[in-house]
């Protein structure tokens, strides 16, 4: 590089101050940065950005310049690209969110509909790259972020343009378990290599098992038929046996998502109807009980025949409170929020216990008062 080129690159590099390092590996270094002082981008002053340093031997400036032309929220919005003597620096907007890997680790496998939606968005992002002759080559759960504004496909560090006539890629890399077999030197990668990775991603989202683990294939075989077939076809060893484009895979995912597309979807629909029926019956029981006890309590209070009748009326109200809260409201709330299955089962029992305890305390006080009255 000529001296002036280096100086310009250094000045560009020094225009950012590092907030913290996000990652470091064979593929380069990733930093969270912001513009230092008034760096010329007044509207972005203070805005967080991501700077990636890519080793010269794996970086391809042309790829990033083409990505820069893409105006889509699903792909990194490239702000600046500059070349240092030993590496390429790329500065993109920072996307705050949770990676698919973090999401599945925290909350377990996704439902078919959600996983299909996420994978379809990744297909759309990958498709934009494929239209420009680019292949991502590193689609994995760590490179897909779920943000407030949707799904983002990040880390194009090893993206490549397809070279007509080439028999194999000159650099391989990729994430073990998610990279297509041809990335290990068998053939050149193309859009179908990304299709493979998206299929592995889909499998991970549905099973919660990393594609790099030995148990992944068995976990995929345990899926319902519809999603399993989509994953298996996308992940066929032979590229010609896969979906031939990200669009084709996206169409298959669309059918999967609509259907509930599977027994799982139909099971969830049936379970939802059953819950609503039970809630309806509970509500009816609660309403009838309330009416009955309130009427009886009113009679006992206004026309007492025995000295303990007013206390009996209050006991009736106490029982109505227990029925309405612990027997009707709490179970109905539990049934109508299936996503909380794992935790509100225990919470439900605990809350019912508290309500029962409260009602028993009231009962005890009234019983003592009634006894004193009679005495």
């Amino acid at each position: 590089m000529e001296d002036e080129e280096v100086f310009r690159a250094l000045d560009a590099d020094d225009a950012y101050e590092v907030v913290r390092e996000l990652g470091r590996g064979a593929g380069g270094v990733t930093q969270l940065v912001r513009r230092a002082g008034d760096g010329g981008g007044g509207d972005r002053e203070g805005a967080l950005l991501v700077r990636k340093y890519l080793p010269a031997e794996v970086a391809n400036r042309d790829v990033w310049e083409r990505v820069r032309e893409i105006d889509d929220a699903r792909l990194p919005r490239v702000r600046e690209v500059y070349e240092l003597p030993d590496r390429l620096a790329v500065v993109c907007d920072y996307v705050a969110g949770t990676t698919v890997r973090e999401r599945v680790r925290e909350s377990g496998p996704m439902g078919v509909g959600e996983a299909a939606d996420v994978a379809a968005e990744v297909c759309a992002a990958a498709g934009l790259l494929h239209e420009r002759g680019l292949v991502h080559r590193d689609i994995s759960p760590g490179n897909v972020v779920l943000a407030d504004d949707g799904v983002h496909l990040l880390d194009l560090g090893i993206a490549r343009e397809r070279t007509e006539g080439a028999s194999r890629d000159t650099t391989r890399l990729g994430t073990w378990g998610y990279a297509a077999p041809e990335q290990f030197g068998f053939a050149q990668t193309d859009a179908r290599s990304d299709v493979y990775s998206i299929g592995r991603l889909l499998g991970f989202m549905l099973c919660g098992v990393e594609a790099s683990e030995d148990s992944f294939d068995a976990a995929v075989r345990g899926l319902d038929d519809a999603p399993r077939l989509v994953v298996e076809r996308a992940c066929a060893f032979e590229p010609s046996a896969r979906y031939q484009s990200a669009d084709e895979l996206a169409r298959a995912l669309g059918e999967l998502g609509e259907d509930g597309g599977s027994k799982t979807g139909r099971k969830r629909a049936r379970r939802g109807a059953w819950r609503r029926v039970v809630c309806g019956l509970l509500a009816l029981f609660g309403a009838l009980s309330t009416l009955l006890f309130v009427w009886v309590a009113f009679r006992l209070w206004t026309r007492p025949e025995r000295p303990t009748d007013p206390y009996s009326a209050l006991l009736g109200i106490d029982l109505v409170v227990f029925i309405d809260v612990a027997v009707v409201l709490l179970p109905a709330r539990f049934l109508l929020r299936p996503e909380d299955d794992a935790t509100t089962g225990r919470t439900l029992l605990a809350r019912q216990g508290l309500v029962l305890l409260f009602c028993l305390m009231v009962f005890a006080v009234l019983a003592v008062a009634a006894t004193v009255e009679v005495g």
Partner: protein
């Protein structure tokens, strides 16, 4: 000036001199006592250069231009991917406007011998560093006094 990394160091000038640390080591009852108190750590040239630049508010571009070294070479020295020879390290000290203490530490971090007043050429350089001369003015003095300049005709690599 923005630094490449966030590593922080105490100011180079505020760090204790080697002689002071040696006194403390010899006064310790065991190596463990000294090491537990002083945490000498490793002295990384790249880190030192970046710290000096940050403390003095000099960008890497300004520093490399002032040394007269080629930009790629200067970049590599800052990045720690290339080790400077003695003259290049001295030129770096000029580029970063180091005082004599900072210059000597820089040379030590670079793994080369410090400036030695008993060596005629070093004495001239010591004088120039202490008086805040630029690298070009130091080379003028060296040339005038018949000594080899820091910047060689082949651009100092």
């Amino acid at each position: 000036m923005a630094a490449e990394t966030e590593r922080t160091m105490t100011s180079i000038e505020d760090q204790p001199l080697t002689e002071e640390l040696l006194e403390r080591l010899l006064a310790s009852s065991s190596p463990d006592q000294y090491l537990s108190q002083e945490e000498p750590g490793d002295c990384d040239l790249s880190e030192m250069l970046l710290t000096l630049a940050r403390e003095k508010g000099i960008s890497r571009t300004e520093a490399i231009r002032a040394t007269g070294l080629s930009a790629p070479y200067g970049y590599q020295i800052f990045a720690g991917t290339r080790h400077p020879n003695r003259d290049a390290a001295i030129m770096m000290a000029f580029g970063l406007r180091c005082n004599l203490i900072e210059c000597q530490r820089l040379l030590k971090a670079a793994g080369v011998s410090e400036l030695w007043v008993k060596r005629r050429r070093d004495a001239i350089i010591i004088f120039c560093v202490d008086h805040g001369y630029t690298r070009e003015r130091c080379d003028d003095e060296l040339f005038r006094l018949g000594e080899e300049t820091l910047l060689k005709v082949d651009a100092g690599e």
